[in-house]
């Protein structure tokens, strides 16, 4: 147990170090002056340039530079954006929660729908229900998420007018920026039309969340189904039947727990797909998240923003992956090292 934690911690630190090295290296890889790419400031005045070069220790060796880069990263001084001129640290931590919020709701919703349906399909293996669910899930995960989002816009917002086309909340509402999670922010705030703002925010959220959910649910369903199908013929399930337990009892006491075990590490793998989909969907719905922000940064050749954004997003993903892996290992120590769930 302690060994697991230590190992994962080592791995985590090592990975973060590699990510930092890479983001530092990016300043040199991107077109233009490395110092400008690091600071994000256009340094026309030689005195300014000297001052900045002093701050980043550009005249010292590369290792010293990297060390000071790390110190600045730790202090929250991530440089400035070319396009907006604002500090990147603040910009990123304004937009990252929006993405996390979107993906969290999508993930929760897809777990809520996908796991029960997966159990249903797995318990009725090779019957009509199973085949229908399986067919639906193949269709679901074959759908390109950007196309699905477009179709939803065409249908629900242009034809039927049920949901707003883009954005996060109507401009009429002025939500204070506290946690960055809009629903939580509205809940905590003491603005006048709280209920109306809440409804408006939820309306804006329905389509982006649904577009991501459909794809993710399909995958969760398949994984759950496979896990259930693998568990059902196991000896302990047969033994439980032999002891005279009813089907209900067997499923609730033995199948559910054992089938859920391989699903947890899977979430770690899903987080990448989920985040990629969320980033694409954000662009289509103009959701003010990190994906939209990064794509805009590409269009505007905002190199400091890309460097910092890459570091933030990959740190998030890596933290999540390693944390879930550790959790899965602690819950299920019998799991073979590096074993991965199958679809």
């Amino acid at each position: 147990m302690f060994r697991f934690v230590l190992r994962h911690f080592n791995l985590y630190v090592l990975t973060l170090l590699v990510l930092c090295i890479f983001s530092f290296w990016l300043a040199y890889l991107f077109p233009g002056d490395p110092l400008v790419n690091l600071t994000g400031l256009t340094l026309n005045d030689p005195a300014d340039y000297q001052a900045m070069a002093q701050k980043y220790h550009m005249d010292s060796g590369i290792l010293v530079q990297f060390w000071h880069y790390l110190v600045l990263l730790w202090d929250g001084d991530w440089g400035f954006s070319f396009s907006s001129g604002l500090p990147l640290y603040q910009e990123i931590f304004d937009s990252l929660p929006a993405t996390v919020e979107l993906s969290t709701y999508a993930l929760l919703l897809s777990l809520l729908i996908g796991i029960p349906l997966g159990f249903l399909a797995g318990l009725r293996h090779h019957r009509t229900t199973d085949n229908a669910l399986l067919a639906a899930s193949v269709v679901g995960y074959s759908t390109p998420v950007f196309w699905l989002a477009l179709l939803m816009i065409l249908l629900f917002s242009l034809q039927l007018g049920w949901f707003p086309l883009s954005g996060r909340i109507s401009l009429l509402f002025d939500v204070p920026h506290d946690t960055g999670f809009i629903l939580v922010d509205i809940w905590l705030s003491d603005m006048p039309n709280k209920g109306a703002a809440m409804i408006n925010a939820v309306q804006h959220m329905v389509m982006p969340v649904l577009s991501i959910t459909i794809v993710t649910t399909a995958i969760v369903l398949r994984l759950t189904r496979r896990a259930v199908v693998e568990v059902m013929p196991k000896e302990y399930v047969q033994a439980a039947y032999a002891r005279g337990l009813s089907k209900h009892q067997v499923i609730l006491r033995h199948v559910v727990r054992n089938a859920m075990l391989p699903i947890l590490p899977l979430l770690a793998m899903q987080s990448t797909i989920l985040l990629t989909n969320a980033m694409i969907v954000e662009v289509i719905y103009s959701w003010p998240g990190i994906g939209n922000w990064l794509i805009q940064a590409i269009y505007q050749r905002d190199y400091p923003a890309i460097r910092a954004g890459m570091l933030a997003v990959s740190t998030l993903v890596v933290s999540l992956t390693i944390f879930i892996d550790l959790l899965a290992r602690i819950i299920d120590p019998t799991r073979e090292r590096g074993a991965r769930a199958k679809i």
Binding site: L26, A135, V145, T276, L294, I295, I322, G338
Partner: protein, 297 residues
């Protein structure tokens, strides 16, 4: 299919034949294979099938609706787009581009991934551990992010987005190859080969690789569906293939501008991607369950 047997001769299909027989049991998978075959034909014979040049602009026939609409013409089956390019030809070439490039990417990623995976699976100790774990956690980074970085360094373009996607496809091949090689190394036939004096290179290429082919095909179909989705997503976002080239995702984002006037301009490329990915997934699923059934026997 029952074979006519006059004598009480037993029929032993080879492993590959066995997989094929099991694959044919699933009608849906066979239909998927037919559709995939259709797309493969498009990839190979696109210049013969497409009626027009995909980038040629017929300035006298702008925005003609598809042939089934009242004022469509049969000359342009799916109509023309806002600059008078024949949509059918663009779709045919688009399938060629999207599927063809995805195939190349998958092969490339497979080659590199299997090489690294074999190395990681056959080595032990610190080197292997560092290689594995660092790779594991680093390559959890989303494709889109890798693509954004590569595009930022090298500039926008189809080739650059191809680098990004092949880089993102490699890890799953590494994982699977490594796990497979690890498992096989424990088996008796490998020990036997080793006792015969086979060195590591022999062991991998002659003993283990033939057993891995099917696993790689299954993995390849999964990677193919991801590659198609990714390449069209990047095209759609404007980071991959650029405007005049007939790539399905790029066509979709172009069609967005005239979606009000001709809804088919976003329906057609989108459904082409969808059907393509669906057929790949059906074949992949069929192969996987065929393989699973064979292993169970």
């Amino acid at each position: 299919m029952p074979r006519f047997s006059l004598y009480q001769e037993e029929y032993h299909p080879s492993p590959l034949q066995h997989t094929w027989l099991a694959f044919r049991q699933s009608h849906v998978a066979v239909i998927g294979l037919w559709i995939l075959g259709f797309f493969a034909t498009l990839v190979v014979f696109a210049p013969l099938i497409a009626p027009f040049d995909p980038v040629q602009q017929h300035t006298d026939t702008l925005l003609i609706p598809p042939a089934w609409e009242p004022n469509g013409s049969i000359e342009h089956l799916f109509g023309t787009d806002s600059v008078g390019r024949d949509v059918l030809s663009r779709l045919v070439y688009g399938c060629r581009m999207t599927l063809g490039i995805s195939l190349i990417l998958v092969l490339l990623a497979m080659l590199v991934g299997v090489a690294i995976g074999a190395l990681a699976g056959m080595t032990r100790g610190v080197r292997s551990s560092v290689l594995n774990h660092l790779l594991d956690s680093l390559l959890a980074i989303p494709t889109l992010l890798i693509a954004i970085i590569i595009v930022a360094i090298l500039g926008v373009g189809l080739v650059n987005s191809m680098w990004a996607i092949s880089l993102a496809l490699i890890p799953q091949f590494v994982h699977n190859t490594r796990d497979f090689v690890r498992n096989e190394m424990k088996k008796d036939y490998v020990t036997a080969a080793r006792l015969d004096g086979a060195n590591k290179v022999h062991l991998f290429f002659i003993t283990i690789l033939p057993n891995m082919v099917e696993m790689l095909v299954v993995q390849g179909t999964m990677a193919l569906s991801i590659a198609i989705l990714d390449i069209s997503a990047l095209g759609f976002l404007g980071l991959g293939a650029q405007a005049p080239s007939p790539e399905l995702g790029t066509m979709l984002s172009e069609g967005l501008k005239i979606a009000y006037m001709s809804p088919s301009s976003i329906a057609l490329p989108g459904s082409a991607i969808f059907v393509m990915v669906l057929s790949v997934n059906l074949v992949g699923d069929g192969l996987r369950s065929a393989l699973r059934n064979r292993m169970r026997q």
